[in-house]
Symmetry: C2
Subunit: 212 residues, 2 copies
DNA sequence: GTAGCAAGCAAGTACCTGCTTGCACGCATC
DNA sequence: GATGCGTGCAAGCAGGTACTTGCTTGCTAC
């Protein structure tokens, strides 16, 4: 393994666990099984090293994509949500550390925020396609619904370990359950005749939306 | 202002901004306008001080309650969600700091997790009541739906500042939009449902025989 | 008054932090 | 063999860290 990568992965690991201040150069060097001086010779400073480590980690976020043209929304969204959640759960510590450092070290945050942004764009495009093909109610605020779905995955990934009582359903089925409920929410209202999309999508909201 | 409270509030503030390691006793003392030694004389150690500060802050979380008996779910949930979100947004930095420290300092996490737990219990009870009175579909997984709603508020409060592009709708209307979409999701599927309540009624009880 | 107590103040201890310096060793290339 | 080059190692610097000690000051109660 290249010494550079060894250091970067060690830095990401230590930073995840201890945050920026706790990620001492001595600790990173020890974890990478490398002399501390090598860190400075290779990356210049602790800040540059950790920034680079986070950027690499964020760039490696290459998970399941949503298709350009929705075929089976329940299956596709379930898989996407599950992959997304698994990825966030795995990188939970790093994400939280970045969030905690966001005000003190804005540069770090930029490096990290990219992943979420990309996922959000992808979901947004998918939902737009869903709506334009009549599989999503035009009365549902698209961006609100989308950010809700993102938040759901985010909340599960962050909170499952911390507040287990709030997430009683097992990891394996959570994404499916979330997706099903989400699809109920955005499904077009059946006007008398229940045009049930795939069995689960007959949600009817009696809430009048005349208030824009 | 009591010197004790002055120190506690300063500690919470500094801890929010800089995390545990960054919250030096010197900085806290300076922020509280108190001699550093007084910190140790009053609380014994930095750890004890910060733990106490977090506990106090979490205990002060006394926001809007959900009624025992749902009357107007859309209004009640909107208000509750808005209050909850505002509270989390205000305490965002502290929450994130606690989350980042959860593995290194589990004691701190326990002090902080209480607030979320209480809110969750309250929502769960409300949803149960909603379901038992026929205003929530029995096919919807109650805990999944509840944790979704919690996650939505959490995600908005945490992400709005960090990834603005994901939360384009203004703070004032976000809670209403979330609630409306959520209610669409959990509303009983109409078998040709009737709505007989006043105009803005959210989820309508079909418990009365499905006439019409 | 004076005794007790809470708080401030200055200094110090032992350790940790990022980062630097100087030097030695192994290894590939010419 | 000579020349770099990348790396390891030991030591150190200047500053920061939690926490302690010994002392002074001001306020309140008897």
């Amino acid at each position: 393994m290249e010494i550079r990568e060894k250091i970067l992965s060690a830095a990401a690991r230590v930073y995840s666990q201890h945050g920026f201040r706790g990620a001492t150069t001595r600790l990173i060097a020890q974890e990478a099984d490398v002399n501390e001086v090598t860190l400075f010779r290779t990356f210049g400073s602790k800040e540059a090293l950790i920034e680079e480590a986070i950027r690499c980690h964020a760039a490696s976020a290459d998970f399941a994509r949503l298709p350009d043209e929705p075929q089976d929304p329940e299956r596709e969204l379930t898989e996407w949500c599950a992959a997304h959640m698994a990825h966030m759960r795995e990188g939970r510590a790093l994400i939280v550390s970045c969030m905690a450092d966001v005000e003190e070290r804005p540069d770090i945050a930029c490096s990290a925020g990219g992943g979420a942004g990309r996922a959000w764009q992808e979901l947004e495009r998918y939902l737009e396609r869903l709506r334009s093909t009549g599989r999503m109610d035009v009365d549902v605020h698209l961006k609100a619904a989308g950010s809700m779905f993102m938040s759901i995955a985010f909340g599960d990934a962050m909170g499952r370990e911390m507040i287990p009582s709030m997430f009683p359903q097992p990891v394996e089925t959570a994404a499916r359950e979330y997706t099903r409920i989400f699809l109920r929410a955005i499904a077009p209202r059946s006007n008398g005749a229940g045009r049930t999309q795939d069995g689960n999508a007959a949600a009817v909201s009696p809430s009048t939306d005349d208030r824009s």
